[in-house]
Symmetry: C2
C-alpha cells in the first residue's frame, strides 16, 4: 500500500479536504463500491474497538445489558409513531424480494419477480419500533421493569451527501433502549446516559463537550426531549457527538405496551433511547489532528508507543534488539501497547512520517550512539517535541508522559473552544462572530419561527440549550422578546 | 416475565421440542415479528459475548486484525464467481428502493416508485465478493501480503425453515478473509484457523469435534476445499460448527486481484475464508443441557456462581449478607463471576429451579443453621450433586470445582460421542447404526453419485473426511469399489 505521506493538504488551506485526505492516508476508512457505504480499515477499526470496549464497560457499570434485535423491520411498524415515520421514511433502504435467479440471456442474476414479499421490510435506520414491538411481550407488571438493554449494531439511512465517518449510509453504533415505570425514572435515565457520553468524550476521547437539550425542531423523531453532547471542531463548526432521548410514552402507545403498576392499574411504559456511532471517529480526528496527520489521545490509541531502531547491519540491530526487549516487556506489563518496528526494508525517516501520520502518541528512537551513552530519544506526537532521556527508567517516564499527553490534548481542545466561544447581544455581532467560526451564545425568544429565520439567514442552528452555565434571562437578539437563557448557536456537521 | 420452569419437555419424549422450549424458557432467544429473524435476549447474548471475546483474542494471537465491510453488495458482484452465485442467489434479500412515502389514502407508508435503485443491492449472505473487490485496491505487491482480516457482522440468508440459533435468516458471525502470496501459505492458514476453531470448541465450549475435509458436494460455494469441525448432539445428529475454506485463486480471478510476486511477475492472489456463527449457541445448548435446563461450561457461563441465602426476616438476612460479602469479593478477585440473589420476593425453591434452568454452574446456599455451623451447601449443575462444606476456604474449593466441571462436561460429551460412533463395513449395518443415532465411520468410493445415493436412501451425509485417525484403505460399503479411508456419515442439523 503506497503511502503519500507528504502531500496532506494543510488545514488552513482547505479544512474539509484535509479531513477527507487524512481519513484515507492514515488508513482509517475508505469509500466502498456501494454508494455511501464505507470500509472501515483495520487501523480505524482498532480505534473504534477501543471506544466500544470502554463504552461497553461504562454501560455495564450503569446496569445495562446487551441484546440483539433484527436488522429488518416490517414497513408498517414505521407508521405506528407519527413523528418517527415522518423522520425516517425518506431515507429507508427497502427490501422487496427474497431471491435472485439467473437471467435468461445468461448475463448474470436478476431479481426473481415470483419472490416478492407480501410486506416490504426496511433495513433499520434505528430500532425503536422493532424493539418496542418485542418489549410488548416482555412487560406485564412493574416487576418486569426497568428493562435496560443496549445493542451494538449497524444501521442504514439513505443519505444523499456522505462523508467518511461523519455521514454515511451505513454506520455502526450502539443504541440503548430502556423501559421504565415512571416518567421521573425515564428522565433520570436519559440524563444519566448523557453524562456517560460526556464522561467518555472528555476523559477518553479528550474532546470537551457542551451538554444540553435540543430545541423542538432538532429533536429525534418520536422523542419528547433530546439531550445532546456538542463538540467543537478546529474549523469552529459543531459536531453532534451523542444523543439521549426521553421518549415519554410515545412508543409504548404506538405498540400498546402497558404494565400493571404498583397501584394495580394498567399504564403505558415510559421509554428512553440513546446512541453514539462511528461518527465519534470523525469527532476524534477533527478535534486533535494537525497538518502532520492524526493526533490520538493515548487512551484510545491502538499503538501507544512505537520504538524505532537506527542501525547499520544486523550486528548493530542485534545489540539494539537486546536492549529494547526488556523495555517492551516492562511497558507491556504496565499496560502500555508497544510496537517495535525493526523492519529493514523501510528507512527511519519513512517510519517517522508514517507513525506521525497515524498519530502514535510516543516515539522512541535508539541508535548505536544512544546505546553507548545509555540514552534514548523521545518524541511526543501532540507537541512534536523531541527530548533525550536516560534509558534507565524510560518506562516510567513514558507511562507518565502518556498520562500528561492525555491531559494536554484535552486542555488544548478545551482552550481552543474557550477562545472560539462568544457571547453576543445583537444579531449583527452574532453574524460577525459566526463567520469567524465557533460557538455563539445568544438570547433567543424560544420560537421555532425565529430559530428558522436565523438558520435561513446564517446557516447556524441552535446546537442546544446548555444544561450548565449562565441562566440569566435576557432579550432575543432578533425579535427583542424575552429569553430564559442564552443558547448555543453554531454552524454544524 | 412469567417463567414456566417445570413443564420443559423431556429430551427422551421429543428432543427437538425440548431444544425449542429450552431456548425460550432459559431466556436465550425468541422469534421476532420478522420471519426467520430472532431476538437474542440478554442472557443468550451474554453467552455469545463470552464466545466472541475468547475467539477474538485467539484471532488476534494468530496475527489477525478486525475491519468492517459494507452490509450491502451490488447484485452483479455475486455473478462474478460462478459457484458462488449458484450457492447464494436463491436466498438473497434484495434491496430495490431507497425511500418510502406516505400512502395517498393515509393508511401508512408505501414504497416510493421513483426511488428505485439502478442496480439492486443484496444484503450480504457472506462477504467474499465485496471484500475481494476492496482488496483489489489494497494489493499491488507481495509486500502488501498477507492480509489477515476478520469481521464481526450480521449476515442474511433467506431460509425457508428456521430454528432459533441453528438456522435463522439473519445471524451473527465472524468471517475471516485472508490474502496470500502462495498456495502453500493459504492452505496453512486454512488449517490454522480450523485448529483455532477446534481448540475453541473443545477447550471453552467443552464440545468435542471431529476435524475434517468436506466432500466436493458439501463445499462452500466458491471454495477449492472446505474444512469443518463437526460436533455430535445428544440425539446423535451432527452439527457443523465451523468451517474454514481454501478458496484458491477463484475470488482473485473473479475480481482481478493480481500482485507482483518476488520474481517480479504478475500473479493472482491466494485466498481463504473462515467463519463461525451464533449457530455455536445451538451446539453449546444441545451438547450439554439436560431435562432440568441448560448446562453451561464454566468458561462460557455469564454467571459462574450464584449464592442464595435462606432466611426469615431482615435480621437473619443481614447476618448472612455480612458473611457472604467477603466470599463474593474473594471470588471476584479470583476472576469468578458471582451473583448474590438475596431478593425477598421470590422463594428459594423458585430461585433454585430458575438458576438450574439457566445453567449456572455452581450454586451456594447459606441459611441460619449453616452460619452457626460454619458450613455452606454447594450444588454443581453438571451432576446436580449437593454437598456441604466448611465456609472457610470455600472460594478455593469453588474455583477448583469450576475447573473440574469444565473437564467433566467435556469428558461426558466425549464419552457420549465415543459410545455413539460406529465402524461399519456393510450398507445394512450402516442403516441399522444410523437409526440408533450417531456418527458412522464407513468406506465410500469417493464418487458424488454414491454419496447422493446414500443421502437419498438414508438421509445421511458425509460430514467429513477426517484429518486424524485411521487411514486404512478399504472397499465402499455400497459399490465395493476401493476407498482410501473411512469417512464420517451422520444425519445432521
Amino acid at each position: 500500500m503506497a503511502k503519500e505521506l507528504k502531500d496532506l493538504t494543510k488545514r488552513s488551506v482547505n479544512y474539509s479536504q484535509w479531513y477527507n485526505e487524512l481519513v484515507v492516508k492514515a488508513d482509517l476508512a475508505e469509500q466502498s463500491a456501494v454508494r455511501g457505504c464505507m470500509v472501515i480499515k483495520p487501523y480505524g477499526y482498532a480505534i473504534w474497538e477501543k471506544m466500544q470496549r470502554q463504552l461497553d464497560d461504562m454501560f455495564k457499570e450503569t446496569g445495562h445489558v446487551n441484546a440483539y434485535f433484527p436488522l429488518l423491520i416490517p414497513k408498517s411498524f414505521l407508521s405506528r409513531e407519527a413523528d418517527h415515520v415522518e423522520g425516517f421514511a425518506k431515507e429507508c433502504a427497502v427490501v422487496t424480494h427474497y431471491r435472485l435467479k439467473n437471467a435468461e440471456d445468461g448475463s448474470g442474476v436478476v431479481v426473481d419477480p415470483e419472490a416478492k414479499l407480501e410486506e416490504e421490510l426496511i433495513i433499520r435506520p434505528t430500532s425503536e419500533t422493532i424493539i418496542w414491538n418485542t418489549y410488548k411481550n416482555w412487560i406485564q407488571s412493574y416487576r418486569d421493569l426497568p428493562i435496560l438493554c443496549n445493542q451494538w449494531a449497524n444501521v442504514f439511512r439513505w443519505e444523499m451527501r456522505t462523508r467518511l465517518f461523519l455521514r454515511t449510509a451505513e454506520f455502526l453504533w450502539q443504541e440503548g433502549h430502556t423501559a421504565h415505570e415512571t416518567r421521573e425514572e425515564a428522565e433520570e435515565e436519559t440524563v444519566k446516559m448523557l453524562n456517560v457520553y460526556s464522561e467518555f468524550a472528555e476523559k477518553y476521547m479528550a474532546v470537551p463537550v457542551v451538554k444540553g437539550v435540543k430545541t423542538a425542531s432538532e429533536r429525534f423523531a418520536g422523542a419528547l426531549d433530546t439531550y445532546t453532547i456538542e463538540a467543537m471542531m478546529q474549523d469552529g463548526k459543531a459536531l453532534q457527538s451523542g444523543t439521549s432521548h426521553f421518549l415519554g410514552q410515545n412508543f409504548a402507545k404506538a405498540f400498546d405496551v402497558k404494565f400493571v403498576n404498583r397501584e394495580n392499574q394498567l399504564e403505558y411504559v415510559w421509554a428512553t433511547s440513546w446512541g453514539v456511532s462511528t461518527r465519534l471517529m470523525g469527532a476524534l480526528i477533527m478535534t486533535h489532528s494537525d497538518d502532520n496527520g492524526l493526533v490520538l489521545p493515548p487512551a484510545l490509541a491502538p499503538i501507544q508507543v512505537v520504538i524505532v531502531p537506527i542501525f547499520k547491519g544486523e550486528e548493530q540491530l542485534a545489540k539494539i534488539d537486546e536492549r529494547v526487549n526488556p523495555i517492551i516487556n516492562k511497558l507491556k506489563g504496565m499496560g502500555v501497547s508497544v510496537k517495535y518496528d525493526n523492519a529493514d526494508n523501510k528507512r527511519p525517516g519513512f517510519k517517522f512520517a508514517d507513525y506521525e501520520l497515524k498519530g502514535v502518541p510516543v516515539r522512541l528512537v535508539l541508535g548505536a550512539r544512544d546505546l553507548e551513552n545509555g540514552t534514548i530519544e523521545v518524541m511526543r506526537r501532540d507537541t512534536l517535541e523531541k527530548t533525550t532521556h536516560s534509558i534507565e527508567g524510560i518506562e516510567e517516564y513514558v507511562k507518565d508522559l502518556l498520562d500528561e499527553m492525555q491531559q494536554n490534548i484535552f486542555k488544548k481542545a478545551f482552550d481552543f473552544r474557550t477562545a472560539h466561544t462568544f457571547e453576543v447581544d445583537t444579531y449583527e455581532e452574532f453574524k460577525e462572530k459566526l463567520d469567524k467560526g465557533g460557538f455563539v451564545l445568544a438570547h433567543w425568544d424560544g420560537t421555532p419561527e425565529t430559530e428558522a429565520q436565523i438558520k435561513e439567514e446564517t446557516k447556524a442552528t441552535i446546537r442546544c440549550i446548555p444544561l450548565d452555565g449562565d441562566k440569566t434571562p435576557g432579550k432575543c437578539m432578533v425579535t427583542g422578546k424575552p429569553s430564559k437563557c442564552r443558547v448555543v448557536f453554531a454552524r454544524s456537521y
